[in-house]
């Protein structure tokens, strides 16, 4: 019976299709739903406009010059709240010690880091292939990012490696064809192109991942340059 009443509430069943008993139950349920909705709709609503806009004003340096804003930002005293766990400090010290251990010198004739395309062919950049590597993994890999965007006047690149700021401007190497080569650390990187400062566009030739805003970013996985030699 409950399914039929619910179907009637959802408009999938007409009230005339219900039995008299079901109609009584429907009226009771509608009254209850009205009461619950009214409980939330009639609450006093705070006006958050001023609070939101003042936070936005603090974020946005548009009203003043960049240098003035930077100066004010550097000079404004701030309260720093620090909560830490000693276990993290031990971990950080261990990581620091590892970094300070002298590394073997690069053998003569070492090859420069290769340039790879931003959207590699499937299977060529699986990070799982690099398991067991013992060489340092922070040697950069030069990656070429390309986008066909006819009519664009500006194309930039943003990614988790830029804190999602569209920091790198692509060059228009041919009409409508934009490109840049960047050194990136081996690993998995998410990125997107920003066309004319406002349109976020995923790389049509790279795997896509949800960006959390209803759109998609692109993902690239980079092996260390010498991973193939060490397999």
């Amino acid at each position: 019976m409950y399914e039929r009443i619910s179907a009637c509430l959802d408009g999938d069943l007409s009230r005339a299709d219900l039995s008299p008993l079901e109609r009584v139950e429907l009226d009771r349920l509608e009254a209850l739903l009205d009461e619950v909705a009214a409980h939330l709709r009639t609450r006093p609503m705070p006006d958050l406009t001023d609070a939101v806009m003042s936070r936005i004003d603090r974020l946005s340096p548009r009203s003043t010059s960049l240098w003035a804003w930077l100066g004010a930002w550097l000079w404004t005293p701030r309260t720093l709240q620090l909560r830490w766990r000693p276990a993290y400090a031990v971990g950080a010290m261990a990581a620091l010690a590892l970094l300070l251990v002298p590394r073997p010198a690069e053998p003569p004739g070492a090859q420069p880091a290769p340039i790879v395309a931003a959207a590699p062919e499937a299977g060529t950049a699986d990070p799982a292939d690099a398991r067991g590597n013992t060489a340092p993994v922070d040697t950069p890999v030069y990656v070429q990012f390309r986008l066909e965007a006819a009519g664009a006047s500006r194309v930039a690149l943003a990614g988790n490696f830029t804190g999602w700021e569209p920091r790198y401007e692509l060059q228009e190497t041919a009409p409508g064809s934009w490109s840049i080569v960047l050194p990136l650390r081996p690993g998995v990187h998410d990125y997107a192109f920003v066309v004319d400062g406002r349109h976020w566009v995923a790389d049509p030739y790279a795997p896509r991942v949800d960006d959390g805003f209803g759109g998609a970013n692109s993902r690239i996985a980079l092996l260390p340059p010498d991973a193939g030699r060490r397999l």
Partner: protein, 206 residues
């Protein structure tokens, strides 16, 4: 000179979401205030329904608008800003509830809200009912609570709900059905408990 009551003077058309977003992206950030005014009540209602605390709901809505402003360039369908900003709020509410679960804070640990406190001008039955509704909503599983609020408080269609949550229409219908059923049962229990408490009070006077 025309007065403001002159029938030939028409009010300026209210700019739609896409127009406002375009202005904000072109540097007129103060126009974002119109979007805040347009959507804050609906967002606050949803947030309050989800977390059951008015201060937390207001904070979540503020954070949502600030995040929406800083990521406005990523709103790919400006005409559907309402759904987009709702998605951001939904994610913030779910994160908040996840953290609250981790801290093991119950909904009943929150202080009673001012309008739910006893007062001479408040009808006792209504106050009881409000408290009961709040507790019943809080006891619904999150997915059911969310579906119920979107359907019956935000008045969204099932298609809009599917767009917002990523769930299918049939799954959402089932969640709403279960939520209605559970709410009815929970409120019936609350009512029986209140009746029992009243009888016990009465008996203590006899």
């Amino acid at each position: 000179m025309r007065s403001r009551h002159d029938p030939t003077v028409r009010p300026l058309p209210v700019p739609d979401d896409a127009t406002l977003i375009d202005r904000v992206l072109n540097g007129q950030s103060d126009h974002f205030a119109l979007l805040v005014r347009r959507y804050q009540d609906a967002l606050y209602r949803f947030a309050f329904g989800m977390v059951g605390d008015s201060d937390v709901a207001a904070d979540l809505v503020q954070d949502t608008f600030v995040k929406g402003f800083t990521h406005l360039g990523r709103c790919r369908q400006p005409a559907r800003f309402g759904i987009w900003i709702h998605q951001i709020l939904r994610n913030r509410c779910l994160d908040y509830l996840k953290n609250r679960r981790r801290r093991n804070v119950s909904i009943d640990d929150h202080p009673q809200l001012p309008c739910e406190r006893a007062g001479p001008d408040v009808d006792l039955d209504r106050r009881e009912l409000r408290g009961a509704i709040r507790r019943a909503l809080a006891r619904l599983p999150e997915a059911q609570r969310e579906a119920f609020l979107l359907k019956h408080v935000q008045d969204l269609s099932y298609e809009e709900m599917a767009d917002l949550t990523g769930a299918s229409v049939s799954a959402l219908k089932m969640r709403v059905l279960r939520a209605r059923e559970a709410l009815q049962a929970l409120l019936r229990d609350e009512s029986a408990r209140a009746e029992h408490a009243r009888d016990a009070d009465l008996a203590s006077f006899v």
